[in-house]
Symmetry: C2
Subunit: 262 residues, 2 copies
């Protein structure tokens, strides 16, 4: 990986566009906001917008593009959501059908992009506080799980909340709450510490999205609401087409992480 | 005014519904959330939802009702937005045509209600911090002004931000910033302290909404973003019908003010 890709959001997006980068974005561009993506047709966009309003913990909306306009003007003027992410997921009628690195050929005049806050936004603040980010240490994707907690429904958009997980000691977990709580629009404080079963997660070693990471002796799993949640609810809403980022392959925005602090 | 109306949100709403209360709500039900209302047809609701997302300072959305459903389930289960506010404003094609105390006869199956955070939510916290609320002291409506600051546009929804104003000393203003900043979903910290002209306000003694209040010697005007802003933008969007609260006559919710603290 060229060294400049690690810090410059515009260079990360340029390499995504050029096809020279299709990897995970955790740990890249510290200090910048990273965002989940969900693109739906205008016909489904109202119900999805209301879904996000009703589920602000997993779905804090940072930017909504105008129909047919691929530029996320609020968080990265000049960027193009059709090409500037490392990898996408394409859903047709609620089925995952493809994982391309560019969706320009699928673009339509009625598509609307929702950019949704991501916990990668605060990971550098966690590192600065001495907290471990195991998926970065191990060079794998974040562990993500479907929970037993149902989201608030809007139209056909319904389904379980997805969470990301980072293992750490209980003492570190207390610090993590303190560090991440102010980043409300990047999921904020953890929703649970310690017991996967309490969230309806049967096997912590079998994430539903991303990779397994090592939980060391004395560590507990710490769970944050996750912007992959829309990818579970489109399975139920079954819009004709929906396009998301591939989990772990986020949109890297220009705005600074601290701009999300309330 | 019966004494119980001052503290119990359900009793305030019951008296609105019964037609025995149509006054200002500032100072009522301390500790409870108060909300601005904007009702638009489903056909305009997406553009309005995006308008709110793009203008979170004046338009933090607390609840969105389903089309045709008058119950704001998130902030006051069982309440009815058609009757439970003291007074409404009815706009047809962008013109204010009526100020009734009940809108049940105007209700349609396609109407959607947006409940938007209101600065009255944090006024009791200001009082507890020793800050003056001049409009409550003087028994008048809050002073509100159209500013020269344009909101971010969504579809036909465009127009200037409206602000509320509370006079206090500069030292008190500093405390007010500290006290109100955490209430992000009730407009949070002031957007300006001191100079009306900097906001494009020509005459501080001539508010565009509400009443003039006394600014004492040594006091400066302190301005907060205001949820009356949608009432200026519907003048431009000109939906067939739009119904808001009358300024100062808010929806009093059940949820506690502290529930808005991030």
């Amino acid at each position: 990986m060229p060294s400049d890709i690690t810090h410059d959001p515009a260079e990360i997006r340029r390499q995504c566009r050029a096809g020279t980068f299709d990897g995970y974005t955790a740990g890249l561009a510290p200090g910048r906001v990273q965002a989940n993506l969900m693109i739906v047709p205008r016909a489904q966009a109202y119900d999805f917008a209301v879904f996000c309003q009703r589920n602000p913990k997993p779905c804090p909306v940072l930017d909504i593009t105008d129909p047919g306009d691929p530029e996320p003007r609020a968080i990265a003027p000049g960027a193009d959501i059709r090409s500037d992410l490392p990898r996408y997921r394409v859903f047709r009628h609620g089925e995952l059908v493809d994982e391309p690195t560019d969706i320009t050929d699928l673009w339509r005049d009625d598509l609307v992009g929702f950019l949704i806050g991501c916990s990668y936004t605060f990971e550098d603040a966690m590192v600065a506080a001495g907290l471990p980010i195991r998926h970065v240490e191990e060079g794998v994707n974040t562990s993500m799980y479907r929970t037993g907690r149902d989201c608030a429904v809007s139209g056909g958009f319904a389904g379980p909340m997805v969470v990301s997980m980072r293992p750490m000691t209980p003492e570190q977990a207390a610090t993590a709450v303190e560090v991440t709580r102010p980043y409300v629009r990047a999921h904020g404080a953890p929703i649970h510490v310690g017991d996967p079963a309490a969230l309806g997660i049967a096997d912590i070693d079998s994430p539903d999205y991303g990779d397994r990471v090592t939980i060391k002796p004395g560590e507990v799993p710490v769970f944050w609401a996750c912007g992959v949640t829309p990818q579970t609810v489109v399975l139920n809403a079954k819009p004709e087409i929906a396009i998301s980022h591939a989990p772990g392959h986020m949109f890297v925005a220009d705005i600074e992480s601290t701009s999300l602090l309330d």
